[in-house]
Amino acid sequence: MANLNKTSRRDFLKIAATAGGGLFIGFSWSSCDSPKMKVLTNEEVLAQSKHFNGYLSISPSGDIIIYSPNPELGQNIKTSFPMVVAEELDADWSRVRVVQANLDTEHFERQVTGGSGAMPHSWERLRKAGATAKYLLVAAAAQKWDVEASTLLTSNGMVTHRESGKTISYGDLVEDASQIDAPEEVILKESKDFKLIGTPVKNVDNPSMFTGKPLYGLDFYRQGMLNAMIQRAPFGMKIKSVDDSEAKAVKGVDDVVVFNNNVAVVGKTTWPLMKAKRLLKISYEPDGLVESTEDHDRLFKEMLDSKEATSMRKDGDVDKAFRNAAQIVTSEYQCPFLSHSPMEPMNFFAHVKNGSAELVGPTQTPERARMETAKLLGIEPENVTVQITRLGGGFGRRLAADFVIEAVELSRLLNAPVKLTWSREDDMTGGAYRPAVRYRFQASLDAGGNMTGYKLRGAGINAGNSTRQDNFPSGCVDNLLIDTIEHKSPITTNPWRAPITNFLAYAEQAFLDEVAYTAGKDPVQFRLDLLNKGKRSPVGDVNYDIDRMIGVIEMAADKSNWGQKSNVKQGFSVYFSHRSYVAQVADIEMDNNEPVLKKITAVTDCGIVVNPTGANHQVRGGIVDGMGHAMFGNLTFENGVSKQKNFDTYRLIRMKEVPEIDVHYVNNGIDPTGLGEPALPPTGGAIANAIFQATGKRLRSQPFIEQMEFPDTKMRIGRS
């Protein structure tokens, strides 16, 4: 039977110990300013200091092991983090082995995949780790040859003495280097001297992924474990009665367990459980609000007109601006609930033993998994271990720990190791969705077509604050009012890639296009005018960099030949989120009166691009994601259950529907600012605005596919 490679720190230490006196670098992740770097002997590593929580090891053989602490779900962090360490180390990349770390809060900080924040958080820490190791290796070579360290060069895992041409490998230096005290300060490379950063380095898991090795949580197997699946209740309902007689009669089903409003079927293998789950006869009764989409429609209307909204930002005098307006533009935009639907459904392995728990599986937040498990079991967090598998996608769904806790509860109840698997239907009906949101925008224009006032009301269902009150155009409009209102629903929601901005950006950028059109201005120039006004005389706090935003707008206009292609209708969009700036232009051509989306041009300012392959993946993937969900994504409800239960009715974008995507970067040498999310938000707006140019129709509601009312035709997407 298959078994995942266990990649615990113990294994790492074992590797290092058998290598016999390797070099270990511990470095503090908690503060860039005071990383008291220290070289540790094997014994010291075994008795690790609490201050040291990341490790790089070099064995005498020259092999380098770099731990990657953060969960890998396709953002390529398992490749790009080690690249940064290896760059400063001047390592031979072919000798670098990357190991996924387990949850280790003593030695790592922010072992989270979310918020596009890993690289911004760790960039300097990773570089210092590599640079410190290099310093020690060079110092060891200087001692050995009795020369000044400044006369030595490093490259590709070797130290060279410039004058004599003598060379020695890192592996031959590690024992001596481990006797030298680490420096307080190290000098980092100039970005112009990067050799590895900025080059396309292949995903370190390619060989395993492309030959079907067990990497993912769903692939995990433990001798003697039980498999379990759960039938969950509709939102707002509780179990009234359960008839499990038919389910229990299925061969291969060992048990049916009712717990916490759930009914679990348990057995040795998966298929009998899938069959049995369908044979459960469960009746439910209301236990709170039992909502359908029609209820949400009514609630949205109430919220958009409500006097109860929470003010998020107020600049100038909006009422006066609207009283004195030459023109007023008002529009409402809406976006439905969405499922995250990573290709690997939720799953987790748990083994609760006496006073401890072992967890294995795909999570974006291993520490939350630990803390919630410890709380549930009433045990100390350090008695919960979490092994992080590769994640078959996440998109924010795996920030929650509901599926982890279910596995833990079942393991406790059944007194056995349990792997819990969600079916696709469970995944789609099981909640933690992107919240549904509606927006009402209003803009006042003076006689010259200048935007004098701007109002935004965000109304959401379990969306928290559905605005981003300090984002553009805030700071560039004299009179502004942004408020938000929320309905608390039993339907659970969770961050979904680029939370809030994944629909706010579309709505705002489509609305601004309407305002520009009403003002008789070019959409690009309209945005630039606003930004330049904000630069000259900022209104209130401006928490984005106006110059970086102008930079991507101008470059996108240039790269897309904005307004210069006679047969192409273009839509513009730009958004700042997660510290990075992305502008996009959608090109639509009419073919037999059908709009065909031919191309999206994207210009990204994410600072330094660590790995161009990984970056292109994030930009293209974010755009495909944004486009697919804007076009097709729709989750509607009937009596507390989503009507869509699988990919036959919940449509995901496919290859034929994806246009050419032309990707550019500003490349301004700024430290990396994050890229897992920022490319997604602008896409819906760029497409909606291009559709308006091509057809005159405004798309104010997602999914677009339900808004196409062109006579005798339908929108075609893809490359014709």
């Binding site: 995903n203 060989p207 492309f210 079907g212 769903l218 293998t269 998966t270 392959t613 974010g622 699988n646």
Partner: protein, 152 residues
């Protein structure tokens, strides 16, 4: 329960399962071949794509009782050393993000190229359109299939 003698990746395997058990779950739960992925279970996404006698088959809806003597090939058996032209192209182009769907994509691509060694862009899209990639690696997949068609 019934006993089935399956030919998978050139080896014979005896399994005792219910006759309606999909090949996917026989591979994953009974033979430990977990490279073939579960994602939708209703033949919509292609993550569980395998070959039967060289033809693509969506294994999540293929009952084990239908297999008989047919030769099943999974991602683990596509090549001995992971060096099938499609696997090499996938590595060269660096196709994957999360990677979960890629075994199914590779199996679809390998079968496509066997039938049509030099597919046009349109033929690549038609051949690959059954496979969903939630991360959106479609551009890279197109590129990798085209590259694989040139690798001998």
């Amino acid at each position: 329960m019934a006993i089935y003698n399956l030919r998978v990746n050139g080896k014979k395997h005896e399994v005792e399962v219910e006759e309606d058990t999909p090949l996917l779950w026989v591979l994953r739960d009974h033979l430990g071949l977990v490279g073939t992925k579960y994602s939708c279970g209703i033949a919509q996404c292609g993550a569980c794509m395998v070959h039967i006698n060289g033809e693509t088959v969506i294994s999540c809806v293929m009952p084990v009782s239908n297999i008989g003597e047919d030769e099943v090939t999974t991602i683990e058996g596509l090549s001995i050393n992971g060096d099938h032209p499609v696997q090499r192209a996938w590595d060269e182009v660096d196709v994957a993000q999360c990677g979960y769907c890629q075994a199914g994509q590779i199996m679809s691509a390998a079968a496509l190229l066997k039938k049509n060694p030099s597919p046009s862009d349109q033929e690549i899209e038609n051949g690959m359109n059954r496979n969903i990639c939630r991360c959106g690696t479609y551009h890279k997949i197109r590129e990798a299939v085209a590259l694989a068609s040139k690798i001998k």
